[in-house]
Amino acid sequence: MTWRQKSLTYLVVGPFAIVLAFPFYLALVTMFKTNDDLAIQTHSPYLINDAEGNFHWDFWNDATTEHVRFLFEDTNYPQWLLNTLLVGGAVVAITLVLAMPAGYALARLAGGWGQSAGVGIFLIYLIPPTLLFLPLSRIVTNLDLKDSLWGLILVYPSFTIPFATWLLMGFFKTIPQELEDAALVDGCSRLKALYRIVLPISLPGILTVVIFAFSLCVNEFIYAFTFISTSEQRTVSAGIPNDLIRGDVFFWQSLLAATLIPAIPLALLYNAFLDRFIKGFTGGAFR
């Protein structure tokens, strides 16, 4: 690239990156602000300031971890994180068990109607959760699963399975058919070929599905918000807005810390698996 092309690239991607990441930068700064620094409106919201509102390069002397400690010691936040992990883990396991065979069958065995089924799976996505949750909340109550993580574990696969099947279908299609044929010729049964040949090769794809399905569970709001009413049973997405915002009282520093902490590991994982995600995603739609 020429020098001009290079600077143009930075001029375009720079502002985009700044705008997109800005809320996270702001959360990072604000979570360490003292109450005075936060409340006095002449103080810059972009920086951590001293009592007079001036910024110093040794800003950690003007910062406080009191609000982060409050979050971990005086709220149910650690419990919510744990609940989120539990629900996400269980849902991902159910999703894989059901979606892997289905995705494989649609990619390899179903023939012509596999493609149509792919579109059909997509249509399931269009049913608004606000519609489903009216009857679902009653069903969950009748099953005596209200206020329990099991209610969420039962309902969440309703949106992770279509997504995972679609994605896995794409991954399986990218695996050369010859590999399986060779195994079949060698006397392997189809199921054994799936288990011994296809699954190990697709491991990166399966991991991608694990990460994105897990993240869908963390993202979910309306079921977590309506099915569960005791604080200890909540997930992060429902617990934070419910318990850390009390009417007009916002625990801003703790709130922002609570929002930033789960986002960072998720973003790292997303970046690590982004290229594979693209492969599976577009493979499912077009091929």
Partner: protein, 325 residues
């Protein structure tokens, strides 16, 4: 191993084994568990919700008297429903226009190789990776009525009064026009929600657009260069048609994510002020759960579904046609 085990096996087991090798048997067998599960957790509630929308069921019960399409007509004639429908369309269309423009520009540069690319990519993907509820709370802080960092910045740049003038924001309190109440004035709240949607969908669209660019074979690039296609001409006749199918997929997902969204609007404004930012999902929640009119709530939710089906079918149709040519 197979040879040793075979003689001891019952004939029935062997017939099963043979059947498992037949794709007409194996395929349905592998798909069935997923389908059965989906029927139970999606199919049944969906049909039930359609039934509910035609009854006068109220909160706590799952049945009621048959009222036909009454709920649909009652919902439609409500001013707030009209507003919610209009807002759903505004948020979806306006944010997707911003997303497509942004993604087209950003993806064109992100496919290049440059130093620090990984950190740029990390920052760009953040809004998509962060759970939507959590990032919306961060936006609540950015748009706060007292501490808004936007107002602080606009004040320093002496632009706040210009914005007051542009958006014709007048507060009820005399003279108190600034700070701007981003979530407290209808037009500002509409703008804020649109921007938050665009912000959170953009990274996803960028990723899909990059995939679209990557899928264009190098031969096409070479051929168009030989044929003398450059600049805008190349963009219009070569790049755009080739990227269209995948761009449509990005937009399709963007539309579904935005139109069906509940969390962003609910957390930012809860539909307020004065129901001016209600969208169909939040209005359905308001009527179906908060007011307890289960039937009408279901009817409101159901208005969205045919709309989304129509959009999807149209876009998949165009995507496939664009792909064939």
């Amino acid at each position: 191993m197979e040879a040793h085990a075979a003689p001891r096996r019952q004939p029935g087991t062997r017939r099963w084994r043979r059947a498992l090798e037949d794709r007409r048997v194996l395929a349905p067998l592998l798909i069935a568990p997923a389908i059965i599960f989906m029927v139970l957790v999606v199919g049944v509630p969906f049909v039930w919700a359609i039934y509910l929308s035609m009854t006068d069921a109220i909160g706590g019960s799952l049945s009621g008297n048959w009222v036909g399409f009454d709920n649909f007509t009652t919902a439609w004639s409500d001013d707030n429903f009209q507003k919610a429908l209009r807002n759903t369309l505004i948020f979806t269309i306006a944010s997707q226009v911003l997303v497509v423009i942004g993604a087209a520009v950003l993806s064109a540069f992100l496919v290049r190789d440059f130093r620090g690319k990984w950190i740029v990519r990390f920052l760009v993907v953040l809004p998509w990776a962060a759970p939507v509820v959590l990032s919306t709370i961060t936006w609540l802080w950015i748009l706060d009525s007292l501490y808004s960092v936007l107002n602080w910045t606009l004040d320093r740049l002496h632009l706040d009064h210009a914005l007051v003038w542009i958006f014709d924001v007048t507060h009820f309190e005399e003279g108190a026009q600034v700070p701007l109440q981003w979530l407290g004035r209808p037009n500002l709240a509409l703008l804020a929600i649109t921007l938050v949607h665009a912000w959170r969908i953009l990274p996803f669209a960028v990723v899909i657009f990059i995939a679209g660019r990557a899928s264009i074979p190098n031969e096409v690039e070479d051929a168009s260069r030989i044929d003398g296609a450059t600049g805008l001409k190349k963009l219009w006749y070569v790049d755009l048609p080739l990227q269209l199918p995948i761009a449509l997929v990005a937009v399709l997902f963007g539309i579904v994510f935005t139109a069906g969204d509940f969390a962003v609007v609910y957390l930012l404004t809860a539909g307020g002020p004065f129901n001016s930012t209600q969208v169909l999902p939040t209005w359905a929640f308001q009527i179906g759960i908060n007011s307890g009119s289960l039937g009408e709530g279901a009817a409101i939710s159901l208005y969205l579904f045919p709309l989304l089906i129509l959009v999807t079918v149209a876009m998949l149709f165009f995507a496939r046609r664009a792909q064939v040519t």
